[in-house]
Amino acid sequence: MTWLGDHLGDILGLTVRHIYLAGVPLILGLFIALPLGWLARRYKGLYPVLIIGTGLLYTIPSLALFIMLPFLLGTKILDPINVIIAMTIYTVALLVRTVADGLGSVPEEVNQSATAMGYQRVRRFMSVELPLAVPVISAGLRVAAVSNVSIVSVAALIGVEQLGSLFTDGFDRAFLEPIIVGVISCVALALLFDGAILGLTRLATPWQRAGEGSS
């Protein structure tokens, strides 16, 4: 394992870039999916269009997307922004349905009483619907996080450095150790993302645990 010892610094750097390339799109994607999901809920006709449309985005092969984006956007081929945008698209693809279904999980009588008490639309969304949709949205976010951590590694093929670079490196040199380290790091990172989302969700939903226990 001398390779590992010699390259600890590099691996750490790749990990940080991996977190950046998978994490930033997760947050951007969530913010784009929230209004889209709300629209899909609000206007019944839009629901199938938005759900099927964004769902199809997820079927575009990631490598194709990484290569196409520079042509579509006029960015440089090696620019990490391509990866950020591509990953944001995948996140949106996964989250629009989740957000729509999360908002749909808010009990009808709760929405009704909010309206009857004089909540206006935006405030009702922010302070009633969204907090109650958190558990469902969080579940979708966990799937998207793990998916991002995995898909981002493909970007090594177009020369954007992150943990995936360990796979190409190991493959080129027919050398197993970087590949194993890369796989383990990716799994650890996926678990880290998952744990972080789970922790934040618990903080945001103390009411979910009420009624358990002996109170």
């Binding site: 009588e109 709760v110 009704q112 009483s113 009857a116 008490m117 004089g118 109650l132 009411w207 009420a210």
Partner: protein
């Protein structure tokens, strides 16, 4: 006062949920809208706070046309209680109750103080304040729902089947407490239910609606029971109308029959000495009736489990229905009457109650118009 003026709700597919509905809900009273499903009662209720917009006619609150008012402002001035309470699951009880005051811009301290006051008012312990709705029973949640509707002290309250989803015992408690609360607060309330017994118990005025949103009859409960306007209303009111109408008639100062009573632990000889027609009433130390016993069956000092428990007890001056029921349900055929403290004062027989009932005039249309 809430006034419906030829209010209609027609949907594009041609269904008429409410058709040309005209009535008034007087200030400080409970007006109940009752009818079978599809009679438009909930639609009518929701048109008051404009959760549903009428397709014709006007609804007035006092002398303001609601269609000209700002929707949000209108709603914040009207308390709203629904089935299952519709509490916000992610907010504590105190935050739930403080919702409308906070929306109106009260600061947190004032809104919470008000919420705590209301929590007590609806009979819940202050310890519930920091709990979440899921930690409360259905009946408790419904009380919170009422507290939340009252929080900003709105003059008008809309209630949509608020007690339908709880079990019968809790429902009766909630109804009694609601009536007591209303006695203190005197809100203008429109109350929707499909349960005619609830309508008759709670309503100062009862509006019976038939399918398609037509008003079949609007009257006070006693008049409704005595004079249903047609077969639909009569069928909807159900059986025992004559008996149920007695609930609304107070009893006069009947001259009661005095009884010799015995305490628990009385011997067979004492029981035999006090009995009349073979039955003797057993009372506790405060003279509260415990039950009847057949003196011939007393072989040992009287114990609680030997007593006959079937008879009901009526309070002097209470509704005639209770007095008659006390007589009808008594194993000795002598109805047990108590004073306000629950102490035994005497007995009465069914024929004496019936004689009083026959003396009385039934509620007539003239009375009704005078009250309307």
């Amino acid at each position: 006062m809430i006034r419906f003026d030829s209010v209609s709700k027609h949907y594009p597919d041609g269904t008429k949920a409410v058709d040309e509905l005209t009535f008034e809900a007087p200030t400080g009273q409970i007006t109940v809208l009752v009818g079978p499903s599809g009679c438009g009662k909930t639609t009518s209720l929701r048109m008051i706070n404009r959760m549903i917009e009428p397709s014709g006619g006007r609804i007035w609150i006092d002398d303001q046309d609601t269609s000209t008012m700002d929707e949000t402002e209108l709603r914040r001035g009207i308390g709203y209680v629904i089935q299952h309470a519709g509490l916000f699951p992610h907010r504590t009880i105190v935050a739930n109750i403080a919702t409308v005051p906070r929306l109106l811009g009260w600061n947190r301290a004032r809104a919470e103080a008000r919420a705590l006051e209301l929590l007590e008012r609806v009979g819940l312990p202050a310890g519930f304040a920091r709990r979440y709705p899921a930690q409360l029973s259905g009946g408790e949640q419904q009380r919170v729902g009422v507290a939340r509707a009252l929080a900003a002290d709105p003059p008008v309250m809309l209630m949509d089947e608020p007690f339908s989803a709880v079990d019968p015992v809790v429902r009766e408690q909630l109804q009694d407490e609601f009536l007591r609360l209303q006695g203190d607060l005197g809100k203008t309330i429109v109350f929707v239910t499909h349960d005619i017994d609830e309508a008759i118990k709670l309503g100062d005025r009862v509006a019976v609606l038939r399918a398609g949103g037509h008003l079949a009859q609007l009257a006070d409960p006693a008049y409704l029971l005595a004079h249903p306007v047609d077969d639909f209303v009569a069928d909807f009111l159900g059986k025992d109308r004559g008996y149920r109408a007695l609930s609304f008639q107070g009893s006069p100062a009947f001259s009661l029959t005095q009884e010799q009573t015995v305490p628990l632990g009385a011997t067979p000889a004492q029981a035999a000495g006090a009995a009349r027609d073979g039955w003797v009433l057993v009372v506790d130390a405060s003279r509260r009736p415990l039950g009847w016993i057949e003196s011939g069956r007393v072989k040992s000092p009287i114990k609680p489990e030997m007593l006959h428990r079937g008879g009901t007890v009526a309070t002097v001056g209470g509704p005639l229905r209770n007095v008659l029921d006390a007589a009808l349900s008594s194993p000795s055929r002598r109805g047990v009457m108590v004073d306000d403290e629950g102490a035994f004062v005497g007995t009465i027989r069914a024929h004496e109650v019936l004689a009083e009932i026959e003396e009385r005039a039934r509620p007539e249309l003239e009375d009704q118009e005078a009250r309307a």
